[in-house]
């Protein structure tokens, strides 16, 4: 993908294609990226075909995200509860004031950031180790290794949450029994009755499920490090650690950055594991769960929308910081979980 797009923040793009779409329909004067005057008819036809083929996907993507977020911004300015639709009233930024002065928001933010940082760091180390194993493995065991690590990738997050929950649960679990020799663990330890231990299990499930994705991105990065460089370093007598630090890691910086950013954004949206294991009790509430509780459980559409918008702004902020500070070229990579 050499035609890497200059990294952009998320809001900038959607408004741009309007005039270009018109040009594609044939009213343009052949003004493209490259001057192709001699082929203008053909270029115009190609352009139109391009938008006919790509247009539907583009429109669907905007319709399922841009429209809802704009609606959320609008709704967040109202006091609006579904059970009392008649009392709907415009209140400006009051919802935001309510949220930002409530410790519940700040605790949820702190928990979310904590989970994001810890899981991303652990996954980076673990994922790198897995990537190295897959990279160095003999051909004959590469297949089985890949198959094994794709299982966590493909498994439903809720299933992973239940698997970890039941293993640690005080009633149905066996972890207390197995690890009773560890100080602090005995048969009466209820992992889900206080924040610290509950977060430990939540993060363990999250890490287990998503490390394969990060390791595959890193594996792709490892494959890009030229063999000659590593060989040369080896000939020069560099130790394994020196090869890693001086040759391999600097050469796959882009892959690492992209993997970290994608995982950070994904971890920041954590919801499933927390919902299943504690439902936010004992200080384990995260931002997505807070938004869910306001909108879906309490039917406070105004407040819930405001939380959603704030969460969205947090994600934008992370992107912005990553792109500006670390110069991550997002467009050079694939997305998704």
């Amino acid at each position: 993908m050499t035609s890497a797009i200059p990294a952009k923040t998320t809001t900038a793009s959607p408004t741009e294609p309007g005039p270009k779409l018109d040009a594609g329909k044939g009213n343009g004067n052949g003004r493209g990226r490259k001057p192709r005057i001699q082929y203008s008819d053909r270029a115009r036809a190609e352009r139109r075909l391009g938008w006919i083929l790509a247009g539907p996907a583009f429109v669907v993507m905007l319709a399922v995200t841009l429209y809802p977020i704009l609606q959320a911004v609008y709704d967040s300015l109202f006091q609006f509860r579904l059970t009392a639709p008649d009392e709907r009233a415009f209140i400006g930024f009051e919802n935001y004031a309510v949220i930002l002065t409530d410790p519940v928001w700040w605790i949820a933010l702190r928990t979310t950031v904590f989970i994001t940082v810890v899981t991303v760091v652990v996954e980076l180390v673990l994922g790198f180790a897995l990537a190295l194993v897959m990279h160095k493995a003999l051909k004959s065991i590469r297949g089985p290794l890949r198959t094994a690590i794709l299982v966590p990738y493909g498994i439903i997050t809720v299933v992973s949450a239940f698997a970890w929950f039941y293993a640690f649960d005080i009633n149905s679990g066996y972890v207390n029994n197995w690890f009773s020799w560890v100080p602090g663990i005995d048969e009466n330890l209820n992992w889900f009755a206080q924040g610290g231990t509950a977060l430990f299990v939540i993060m363990a499930s999250e890490i287990w499920k998503t490390t394969p994705f990060i390791s595959l991105l890193l594996l792709a990065g490892l494959a890009q490090v030229p063999d000659e460089l590593t060989e040369a370093a080896k000939v020069d007598g560099a130790t394994w650690w020196e090869q890693m630090r001086k040759v391999i890691i600097p050469n796959m910086k882009a892959a690492i950055m992209v993997a970290v950013l994608f995982r950070a954004l994904d971890a920041f949206r954590i919801f499933d594991n927390v919902f299943i294991m504690t439902n936010g009790a004992y200080g384990t509430e995260v931002l997505s769960l807070l938004a869910y509780r306001q909108s879906i459980s309490r039917l406070e559409i105004g407040l819930g929308s405001a939380v959603s918008v704030l969460l969205f702004l947090c994600v934008l902020l992370i992107c912005f910081v990553a792109i500006k500070l670390f110069k991550v070229d997002l467009a050079g990579s694939t997305g998704g979980k």
């Binding site: 993908m1 890497a4 797009i5 952009k8 793009s13 959607p14 270009k20 779409l21 990226r33 490259k34 391009g50 083929l53 790509a54 996907a57 993507m61 995200t65 429209y67 809802p68 977020i69 959320a72 579904l82 065991i141 297949g143 290794l145 890949r146 198959t147 690590i149 794709l150 299982v151 498994i155 439903i156 809720v158 299933v159 698997a163 039941y166 293993a167 149905s172 066996y174 287990w208 595959l216 792709a220 990065g221 494959a223 994904d266 949206r269 919801f271 919902f275 931002l287 938004a291 869910y292 879906i296 929308s305 959603s308 969460l311 969205f312 992107c319 997002l330 050079g332 997305g335 979980k337």
Partner: protein
């Protein structure tokens, strides 16, 4: 590594076993739980106590009193995930073909939008959709989930397919035409066999993502009419109020994991190349 190959082999055997344990242990754990009787659940052991292993949890959700709950959720999950995958892959194939093959302004805008959509916090979309769906009657319907699922499946499909299509030697098509094939024949005989694996791989990845959804599932449904399995699991209750649903949930979890394991076993090579091809520059 010509010297001490035995040590080398042993080391790799150990590493392989460790990776296998890492990857499969939680699955094995819930599999073991799914065969436990209610009284055996509190044994504190990994495996069911000897002689007590039972399939009653599976019977309960497949033919017993939890049947209505689970089977309808399974039907919803399979139907909704397959349709969402199909729609996303069709739209993404057209889009990626245009991006890889044609020269038109706005390509970068489309790819950037796909990227932006893929990092969008799902929960931010849920609140407005919840309200809108209730107004226009899409709440608790298949269509009401298929539409938002496209926000999950479409972006990654576009990126993966665009990466695949860029690697196809499109000159083959012209070569076939020079050799006397019609445009359609050239496309069908030369291009489709090369493009099909990419489309298929993308479909698997998109299916995994739709199959995994939980946020939309619990927020935009309320009954068995459209509730998918992950959401249904969260609302499972025991046969009576004194009986925990642990066994039934474990059995249901294993059943929805089977398609994932089958797809991974059959297509691991393709899935890995699909997941990483978009990530590799060049």
């Amino acid at each position: 590594m010509t010297n001490n190959t035995t040590r080398h082999k042993v080391l790799w055997a150990i590493i392989t076993v460790l990776v296998m344990i890492y990857a499969l242990f939680p699955v094995a754990s819930i599999l073991a739980t799914s065969f436990k009787t209610p009284s055996d659940l509190t044994s504190g052991k990994f495996l069911p106590s000897s002689g007590t292993a039972t399939t009653s949890n599976y019977e309960q959700i497949l033919v017993g009193d939890a049947q209505g709950l689970f089977l309808s959720a399974l039907r919803n999950s399979v139907g909704i995930a397959l349709i969402a995958t199909f729609v996303a892959v069709v739209l993404a194939t057209l889009c990626a073909y245009a991006i890889a093959r044609l020269d038109f302004p706005g390509k970068k805008v489309i790819l950037t939008t796909a990227l932006a959509v893929s990092i969008f916090p799902v929960i931010s979309i849920v609140t407005p959709l919840f309200n809108l769906w209730r107004t226009i009657g899409l709440y608790d319907t298949w269509l009401g989930l298929i539409i938002p699922y496209l926000s999950l499946t479409l972006p990654i499909s576009i990126w993966t397919l665009a990466a695949f299509f860029r690697q196809i030697p499109w000159e083959l098509e012209q070569a076939a035409q020079v050799d006397g094939a019609t445009t359609w024949q050239a496309f069908r005989k030369a291009i489709i066999p090369l493009a099909a694996p990419g489309v298929f791989t993308t479909a698997i990845i998109a299916f995994f993502i739709a199959w995994n959804d939980f946020v939309y599932g619990i927020s935009l449904t309320s009954t068995e009419a459209a509730r998918p399995v992950p959401a249904a699991l969260a609302f499972f209750t025991g046969a009576s109020q004194f009986e925990s649903p642990t066994g039934a949930i474990s059995a249901a979890a294993i059943i929805v994991t089977i398609p994932v394991v089958l797809l991974v076993l059959l297509f691991q090579r393709q899935i890995v190349s699909g997941l990483t091809s978009g990530a590799v520059k060049g």
